[in-house]
Amino acid sequence: MHVIESGNVAAATGVKLARVQVIAAYPITPQTPLTEKLSEFVESDELSAEYIPVESEHSAMAVCIASSTTGARSFTATSANGLLYMNEQLHWAAGARLPIVMCVANRGVGAPWTVWNDHQDTVSQRDLGWIQLYCSDHQQIHDTVLKAFKLAETVSIPVMVCYDGYLLSHTYMPFDVPEQAQVDAFLPPFKPTHFLNPEEPRNFNTVTLPDVRPDLHGNTAPGYMEIRKTLHSDLRAALTEIEKIDGEFGEAFGRGGDPFVEPYRCEDADYVAFCMGSLSYQLRDVVDAMREEGTKIGVIGLKVYRPFPDAAVRDALTAHKGVIVFEKALSYGNQGALYADVKSALYSAETRPFVHNYIVGLGGREIKTHHLYDALTESIKNEAAIGDEPQWVGLKL
């Protein structure tokens, strides 16, 4: 059934259909309407879950860690400084291998204070050991939430579903909401591989020593480094699962099909714009306009940022003359984080396109379509001159 609702409601609807069991959240703009909606669902018995109001984001994640450890499907959501306040617990959730799902309505990070959209919050959290998925519209938000639970519970790694604050969280557009029975068939109840069970007492996440050590039975128990290496290799292996789950989702709901990168008019393109989130859709209009003028250009939206699908990115980009990476975040003092990742993925390619970096829309600075047009035109024209420095779009300096 199609409904016209906000992106936050699209997320909440997905969470409800996923039959989540524990929700713990603290309000922060622009995420708040999502968890408000969930509390309504719980209050009206449309969703049978524990809703635990907490006094901070740090506690929200701590509650999810606890509830997930008992084997309950757990969810939270946040934005910007709230996400960063969770930081220590986020590392914990990943290392403890808890399949928590969290929505992040992307917002710039203070100081200076801003409530508007960019990607600095989640991009700065790329090294947590969480999976990070990015959405371009409301349907993707809704679908990605469903896929995220399945993915998290398959690979025992927490998943962040990221979508642009305001631009997606607060805009309204139509999206399809599947039947509960369809979702139940796709997403079976959570069966944890390990959980707190009074019948079989265990200590979880006890201190590890620099080296491996014998356990109670004299067997070798892994040390910190072994456990961390496994997290990394499982994240890499999760790429295969992402693809598989995307396929299963497609069979069940008839949507999806581009698990890692979503290309638009790229087949014969000389140049490709590359970015994450709703910007990749906005760029489609620019691509259409430039195509009409004769420029062979396309755009690719990246849907999975961690684990970084470097092979898919390389395959998608290597055949073009130039790649223009637009991002709403920066690794301050260096360059765009995504830009660096793209370049590193291309390093082993036989032919390498030029790669440029454009920083856009920080703190909600409106991204005008003609700004994008100008940036792309400039990038193509001044290929050699632009170099490695990030270029700033819409800056009033």
């Binding site: 199609h2 016209i4 409530v115 508007w116 305001y166 631009l167 997606l168 607060h170 805009t171 309204y172 557009m173 139509p174 709703s278 859709y281 906005q282 489609r284 209009d285 620019v286 259409d288 306009a289 909600g364 409106e366 991204i367 005008k368 379509t369 003609h370 047009y373």
Partner: protein, 187 residues
Amino acid sequence: MRQDIIEIRWHGRGGQGAITAAKIVANAAFKSGYNGVVMAPTFGTERRGAPVYTSLKIAREKIYDLSPIATPDMVVVLDHTLLEEVDVTHGLKEGGQIILNTPKSIDSYDFGAHRLSVADVTAYALEAGLAPGIVNTGVIGAFAKATGLVSRELLREAIRHEFSAMKPEENARAAALTYDRTVIGGA
């Protein structure tokens, strides 16, 4: 860039229900075959009573650009007192439409080349049995009549759906009364 998108800007005051009004029209438009529907409220803080606006874009094909409307084809004004505070015609295209809730007659306004339609939505809503100041359902009756973008029937359906728990009949009647009494001016 795209020429096929109809852009409608809704001017109201915080709490007046401009978002709901736009959402109802969005639903009705979607049902009548506009697959591209995007509604974007003012991003950021909203204060009850302060002027706010909501962007609604509709097109036959999916819409990808979520940025606010700069050059609307139509503006809907939920409250004529807003005219003193906001330039509702800002960016309005040549020959663009203005739909205005006002108790005054159409002759008391001059919007140059723009086409004005007026209705005393506040009065008709009261007459329909709504509480004083509930104008958002009435004003979309005026919108439907003036623009012809959505039919009276689809609108009725969309209103009853949106207000299923809150005076659906009265809200639908407010829209119907306004629809029938909207005065449409020339350019």
